[in-house]
């Protein structure tokens, strides 16, 4: 969905979503005032931030199964912006999908989307909902073609390109997925997470035997992880990926001892990179393990990094 860029809650961060949705009664102003937040809250203001907050709350409530509060949020939004607002329509669709009991209810949502789109073919939130719904109905091929249709009309939507890459990857179409992620990067060239994601994708492709030139893919993977680290110098995923990708390059002997082309890194450089990445990874893992609560949302990443470090640790 659009507007999640400045989200305090992101989709994978279930903990903070839960925390936010527990405050729902207080924020929405009914029910007992439980905490300081409610005590200090002024009468609702008619500002963009306020409505962004309500949208956030709506998503968090849906994620944690608090459908009643979600309904209240949705009512408030559609009261302010009218039920025919595109974004509100998208949110309503999301709500209906969430409360759908079985597959036939979802099919009904899909039919509804089709009618909306036949009225207004460029209703972007509904187009995106349709793609997501097709995906959750286990129809990835349809989802891909719907997404391609969307991207044909709006080729400057990084979110949609990212989703397309994910869909392609789930179908095992590596090079198409790489292409899509590169398009997303062209729109947001400084996003280190997409760089790291592309690095991961390249790494995966370089291990699959069917894809083109594994040496080149692994080399590019190293490059993208490096770029991601350059943009954000304590990005755990970047370092983790760099360790893996450099190990791949070293194990398969992709890097020449003394390269003819100056842009190709030598074996020595790759080795140095690996040592550097391992050091930093260890450093990050140590510092974040101390401050456990703060990094609670990325605990799984931390565990994976620890596991990798143990595996690669030199035998004593």
């Amino acid at each position: 969905m659009g507007g999640l860029a400045d989200a305090e809650v992101n989709g994978s961060d279930v903990l903070s979503a839960l925390r936010l949705s527990q405050q729902a009664p207080a924020i929405l102003g009914h029910g007992p005032a439980l905490n300081a937040l409610a005590a200090s809250s002024k009468p609702p203001r008619d500002t963009a931030e306020e409505y962004n907050r309500i949208e956030q709350l709506f998503l968090a409530c849906l994620q944690t199964g608090d459908d009643q509060s979600a309904q209240a949020c949705l009512d408030r939004l559609s009261h302010r912006f009218g039920p025919s607002n595109e974004r509100v329509m998208g949110l309503r669709g999301l709500y209906q999908e969430a409360i759908a009991k079985d597959k036939s209810a979802l099919e009904k949502c899909l039919a509804e989307y089709e009618t909306i789109l036949s009225d207004n073919p460029v209703n972007v939130p509904i187009m995106k909902r349709r793609v997501a719904l097709l995906r959750s109905l286990q129809r990835p091929a349809d989802a891909i073609s719907a997404l391609i249709q969307l991207l044909d009309a709006i080729p400057t939507d990084a979110e949609a390109w990212g989703e397309l890459a994910d869909l392609y990857q789930s179908q095992g179409l590596g090079s198409q997925a790489i292409f899509s992620l590169e398009e997303a990067l062209l729109i947001a060239p400084n996003s280190w997470n997409i760089h790291a994601r592309l690095g991961e994708l390249l790494y995966v492709c370089s291990s699959a035997s069917s894809e083109g030139d594994p040496a080149r893919l692994a080399g590019k993977s190293v490059q993208h992880f490096c770029r991601s680290i350059e943009l954000c110098d304590d990005y755990l995923r970047g370092f983790y990926g760099l360790v893996l990708a450099t190990s791949r390059v070293l194990d398969q002997k992709y890097a020449p001892e003394s390269p003819a082309d100056p842009t190709v890194p030598s074996r020595k450089t790759i080795q140095q990179l690996q040592t550097f990445a391992l050091q930093r990874l260890e450093h990050i893992v140590q510092s974040r393990s101390v401050d456990d609560q703060h990094w609670a949302s990325s605990r799984s990443e931390l565990i994976a990094a620890k596991e990798l470090l143990n595996r690669l640790a030199p035998p004593k």
Binding site: T47, F81, T156, P189, R227, R280
Partner: protein, 267 residues
């Protein structure tokens, strides 16, 4: 000319302050506020694209610009060439146009094109909103208050400011510090922006918010093309820009760069 060194004194009736200076200022502030709300009411948000093809026409150009600006930080030579060729082909053959059959024909007359008409109405409304109150107030001041000297500035000014501060008072020898009523109107007209900002919040908080929520997807609403512009011409010039582009990639040598810039921090 004013005699230097000698303070000019003019005896002013204090009623001048209550009946001219004060009313002009109040009227100017009130019209400013009124104009703001009238603009908010009459403002029509830009229309989003109504068909997929139209939306594509709007965004294709941005895609070219994105490729041109960001290719160096993402793509290697091979994938850059592929994308460049695709976009060049599309721009040249008119594949991104709303209806490729109309290509090469002169753009529709904005007077007959309903979309263009609407955009022109919007501009007209905005201009009217400025013009009409100003004409009215200025003629009001001219009719009732012309020729009054109503204010003395507490600081000296150079002779150049005479035309700015003393319009409507044809006195050659009057010192520049004296301000006429018509000039006070002009000063208010130009200088009340910050007052409006203070009164109306950050000037136009109301209409900004309605727009923000309206945009589900800011990119989808954006229209890089002005009404009346021929998209085909824009595409062709963008194709030219793309064609002359020199490719380089900042990912080349990123490994050494990382080692040089970041490794010493750890060691």
């Amino acid at each position: 000319m004013a005699v230097p060194g000698v303070e000019q004194t003019i005896l002013r009736d204090p009623a001048l302050f209550y009946w001219i200076l004060f009313p002009i200022s109040v009227v100017m502030i009130l019209t400013g506020i009124l104009r703001h709300y009238a603009t908010v009411l009459m403002n029509t948000p830009p229309k989003p694209a109504s068909t997929l093809a139209e939306s594509r026409e709007r965004h294709a150009l941005l895609r070219g610009v994105n490729l041109r600006n960001h290719a160096c930080s993402v793509l290697d030579r091979e994938s850059f060439e592929a994308r460049k060729n695709y976009l060049l082909n599309g721009f040249r053959s008119g594949a991104f146009l709303k209806d490729p059959n109309n290509r090469g024909q002169p753009p529709a007359n904005p007077m007959t094109d309903p979309a263009g008409m609407e955009a022109m109405m919007g501009m007209l409304k905005g201009n009217m909103m400025m013009m009409i109150p100003q004409t009215l107030i200025m003629s009001w001041i001219n009719a009732f208050f012309s020729g009054f000297v109503i204010l003395k500035l507490p600081f000296p000014l150079t002779i150049r400011f005479k035309s700015m501060l003393q319009s409507g008072v044809m006195t050659r020898d009057l010192d520049v510090q004296w301000v006429s009523s018509l000039s006070w109107y002009f000063l208010n007209l130009m200088g009340l922006q910050s007052v409006f900002g203070f009164i109306l919040g950050s000037d136009n908080a109301a209409n900004q918010m309605a727009q923000q929520m309206g945009m589900a997807n800011p990119a989808a609403m954006m229209n890089p093309m002005q009404p009346g512009q021929d998209p085909d011409k824009l595409f062709l010039s963008e194709a030219e820009n793309l064609e002359v582009m020199e490719h380089f990639c900042i990912l080349d040598g990123v490994e050494e760069r990382i080692l040089r810039n970041f490794a010493p921090v750890v060691n």
